[in-house]
């Protein structure tokens, strides 16, 4: 078990290495020049050259990569070219917690709403309720989240003034205010996942409910809520965790738009502004963090299987 885990971690590091080389190269290949952007319209060739040397952008690709990678591993992520932001502070200490908070909230919403909805649809299969939840789920998957975000803002924040329009308050500093600020963005980002989880839960549960052990439980005379929620729902944990791990990429992608609409200073906004400004080092830090997050979560998913399904535990 431990050995297996170590092997997976080693794999992770190799993947991260390839990600770093690929993204570093691709970013440099993209047309556009950070110096031209930072100098705006009014500059001379002299200013251009002088800045290029200053920033080390006149060095060959491999030198730049080696220099960057060496420092990155030691936690020195550099400073952004123009704004001179300390990238480690900016990306890791400021932006990452925002995105993690947003992602956890939407996941929580998705599970808290999606699972019960899916269970009810399965239990009341082929009723009006089931059809209704199917329509909801379809709409949820098809509806672009940014549009939903704007609609939520206009209705709940501007018209009804129930929630703040935008901004981030760290739940670690002010728990209730933090949650209050996360409700609209969390809902916006979670619609897709609510829909997905509802459908997944329904499909899995319908299958589970036909299993002999369910029939056995019913035969024992257990109340039907216990049959469904204890014997049945337990079995959807594995497919659910697998899908969530795989769909984390979609979730991280979704944070870009959600963060923009609700003005949350997370990784999504960081990456957007870095790409527009060709802030190579900031982009690189963002790519590395999202890659590590994605791989890390999938590693956890793998490692969690034995806990979720006793049959997978190594037998002594």
């Amino acid at each position: 078990m431990l050995l297996q885990a170590l092997g997976k971690i080693a794999q992770t590091l190799v993947v991260l290495f390839f990600v770093s080389v690929a993204s570093f190269g691709l970013l440099k290949l993209a047309p556009g020049d950070p110096i031209q952007i930072m100098l705006g319209s009014e500059y001379s060739q002299e200013s251009y050259d002088s800045l290029k040397t200053e920033l080390g952008l006149d060095q060959p690709f491999l030198v730049q990569y080696a220099d960057w990678a060496g420092r990155f591993i030691q936690g020195d992520w550099g400073t952004s070219y123009v704004a001179r932001a300390e990238i480690f502070t900016y990306a890791f200490k400021e932006a990452l917690p925002v995105t993690l908070t947003l992602a956890s909230f939407s996941l929580a919403f998705a599970i808290l709403i999606g699972v019960p909805l899916g269970v009810l649809s399965a239990v009341k299969k082929d009723t009006i309720f089931d059809a209704g939840s199917a329509v909801l789920a379809l709409t949820g998957t098809a509806f672009p989240s940014f549009l939903l975000g704007i609609l939520l803002i206009w209705f709940f924040a501007v018209k009804l003034q129930l929630f703040p329009v935008m901004g981030y308050v760290s739940p670690w500093e002010n728990f209730w205010l933090g949650i209050y600020h996360m409700i609209l963005p969390g809902l916006t980002l979670s619609t897709y996942f609510i829909a997905m989880i509802t459908r997944l839960t329904r499909a899995t549960l319908i299958e589970v409910m036909e299993q002999p052990y369910i029939t056995a439980a019913r035969a024992r005379g257990e109340p039907s809520w216990r049959v469904v929620w204890v014997h049945g729902v337990r079995n959807i944990a594995m497919p659910l965790v697998t899908i969530l791990g795989l769909q984390l990429g979609v979730l991280l992608q979704g944070t870009v738009l959600t963060e923009t609409v609700f003005n949350l200073p997370g990784i999504g906004q960081m990456l957007t502004s870095a790409v527009l400004g060709r802030e190579y080092l900031v982009m690189q830090a963002g790519v590395m963090m999202t890659a590590a997050l994605f791989i890390g979560v999938n590693l956890l998913v793998d490692l969690s299987y034995p806990f979720l399904d006793p049959r997978l535990r190594a037998r002594k």
Binding site: M38, T53, A85
Partner: protein, 534 residues
């Protein structure tokens, strides 16, 4: 021209300031205590309120000598002062001494600035003649080189006469000087704390230290920039606010929603497409006029097909400006005939529309030019566009059918903004549209953009007579004579259709009605000096 002429000009420029100073003398002792730093409890008591303003555009750096963005200057100008500043009385734009108390011309190349006594930077160091010299030299010859160095290229020598007097000697009379030396759009005349520059080096832009009404507190990326009142500010009774937060945002419609729900108090920029909504909203006030800018369709004069003057002229006369203003600019802009824009009150001709100068829509004329063009077949041209500028790709989409009318098939190519900049600077386009903004003097409107080897002459139009006229105008201090030179230069540019000029745009700001005392200046500034909150 004689020495007396520009003395008179200067006296006129200064008159408003002299009037104010007389009033200040009346208040007397109170100011002296404030300036010498013994905590003026009265001044502190006046400061109250925390304003939150959305800043939608990119903030690159808070270093005045290195920023390329007006959105940054909006903030920088609250932290720093210039030698001069821009003033606006609702009709005329003038330049007044700011950190300077007086500004005098010894001869047409020598300017003497007497500084205010007792002004201190936020770090406690004095703002004296040495600091002024340090700042100007940092722009002129600092390393890395400031993008604004060209504005002080003619500055030959800086003499520190006494701790409060500095003499600037230029190699030629320099008509652009008031713009170059102001702390706003000119940037080159912004005075920074030498101690802070030495302490922070290239990181000064994250730790700006000026003399302005607000001190820099913090900058969180993509989140906010915080300022707090400078209780020792030299203008008595100012600032009125205790704290100011610039909320950094990417999405204008979110900012609008936040304004309407009262979460923020204003926006440093209100995109034209949101103006209707603001006007319908009773609790906010819109500020905005046509500013010192012009928009145009640029043509690549260095390669086929637009190396053909007649084809360029066909474009210049074939663009229906009225439709462009209505469709691309939401009916908010004003048709432009030449680049010189309305806020340049000494130079703009209010009767330009009937003067017969410049370019305007005349399809017959356009077709006549088209008939003279070398290529009589269908001309294909790459129109490079990006989601950038005030209205994104709307201009390209509005203009393309007009080009079709005169037998030019525009291939619209949508590229990402960074690519757009690279291709524009490398002259890799046939057509593009662009805007030069926040110009207060014709020199910055015309010369670097269109002189033969100009750094920003991306279209590559060349006319040496134009170069000569602009060079003469640069050293001509008499506004009337200068105006005549610029008109001639503009006429050459318009006639040879180096560009097809389109419109002058209004730049909007919006504040909730709780915000009092905002003074609008048509140079895209958000000066919070006099602002208070109800």
């Amino acid at each position: 021209m004689t020495k007396l002429d520009h003395k008179k000009v200067l006296a006129e420029r200064l008159s408003a300031r002299f009037g104010r100073r007389a009033v200040l003398k009346g208040i007397g002792a109170g100011i002296v205590t404030a300036a010498t730093g013994s905590v003026p409890s009265l001044a502190r008591a006046q400061q109250s309120g925390h304003i939150k303003i959305a800043s939608i555009k990119v903030i690159d750096t808070l270093d005045p000598h290195f920023t390329g963005f007006l959105s940054s200057i909006q903030i920088i100008n609250n932290i720093h002062n210039g030698l001069l500043k821009i003033a606006y009385d609702g009709e005329n734009v003038t330049f007044e001494p700011d950190l300077a108390e007086t500004w005098d011309l010894e001869d047409d190349k020598t300017h003497v600035f007497k500084l205010r006594d007792g002004v201190k930077f936020h770090d406690g160091t004095p703002c004296d003649a040495e600091a002024v010299k340090f700042s100007l030299l940092r722009v002129k010859e600092g390393k890395p080189k400031s993008p604004h160095a060209w504005k002080l290229a003619l500055l030959e020598r800086i003499e520190v006469v006494d701790p409060l007097t500095v003499r600037l000697i230029f190699s030629q009379p320099y008509a652009f000087l008031p713009v170059a030396l102001n702390g706003s759009t000119g940037r080159a005349g912004t005075i920074v704390s030498p101690a802070a520059v030495q302490k922070y080096g290239t990181d000064y832009g994250r730790n700006p230290v000026g003399t302005g009404p607000f001190k820099f507190v913090s900058w969180k990326e993509n989140d906010s920039i915080e300022l707090e009142a400078n209780p020792d500010y030299f203008e008595p009774g100012l600032p009125k606010l205790e704290r100011a937060t610039f909320v950094l945002m990417n999405e204008a419609s979110t900012a609008l929603a936040a304004l309407m729900s009262g979460q923020i108090d204003g926006m440093t920029d209100c995109p034209m497409q949101l103006v209707n909504q603001i006007e319908a909203f009773p609790n906010a006030t819109l500020y905005g006029e046509i500013e010192g800018n012009y928009t145009f369709v640029g043509m690549n004069c260095k390669r086929s097909p637009f190396d053909d003057i007649n084809l360029r002229r066909a474009v210049a006369w074939g663009l229906d400006r009225d439709t462009i203003v209505k469709q691309a600019y939401f009916g908010r802009a004003q048709q432009a005939y030449t680049p010189i824009s309305p806020p340049m009150t000494d130079f703009f001709d209010p009767n330009i529309a009937t003067s017969g100068r410049g370019q305007w829509y005349d399809l017959d004329k356009a077709k006549a030019f088209r008939a003279k063009a070398a290529n009589q077949g269908e001309v294909e041209a790459v129109y490079m566009m990006a989601e950038r500028g005030p209205v994104g790709t709307r201009i390209a989409q509005t203009v393309a059918p007009m080009l079709a009318e005169i037998g030019i098939k525009a291939k619209l190519e949508l590229v990402e903004p960074a690519t757009w900049v690279k291709r524009r600077n490398g002259a890799d386009f046939d057509l593009y549209d662009f805007e030069w903004v926040a110009d207060l003097d014709p020199d910055e409107t015309l010369y670097p953009e269109f002189k033969s080897d100009g750094a920003w002459n991306f279209g590559g139009w060349v006319n040496t007579d134009f170069d000569d006229l602009c060079a003469q105008a640069q050293v001509e201090l008499d506004p009337a004579a200068r105006r005549a030179l610029y008109y001639k230069a503009e006429d050459l540019l318009m006639d040879e259709a180096g560009i097809a000029v389109m419109a002058h745009m209004p730049i909007y700001k919006v504040f909730s009605n709780k915000v009092k005392g905002f003074k609008y200046i048509p140079a895209d500034l958000v000066n919070l000096h006099s602002v208070s909150l109800d």
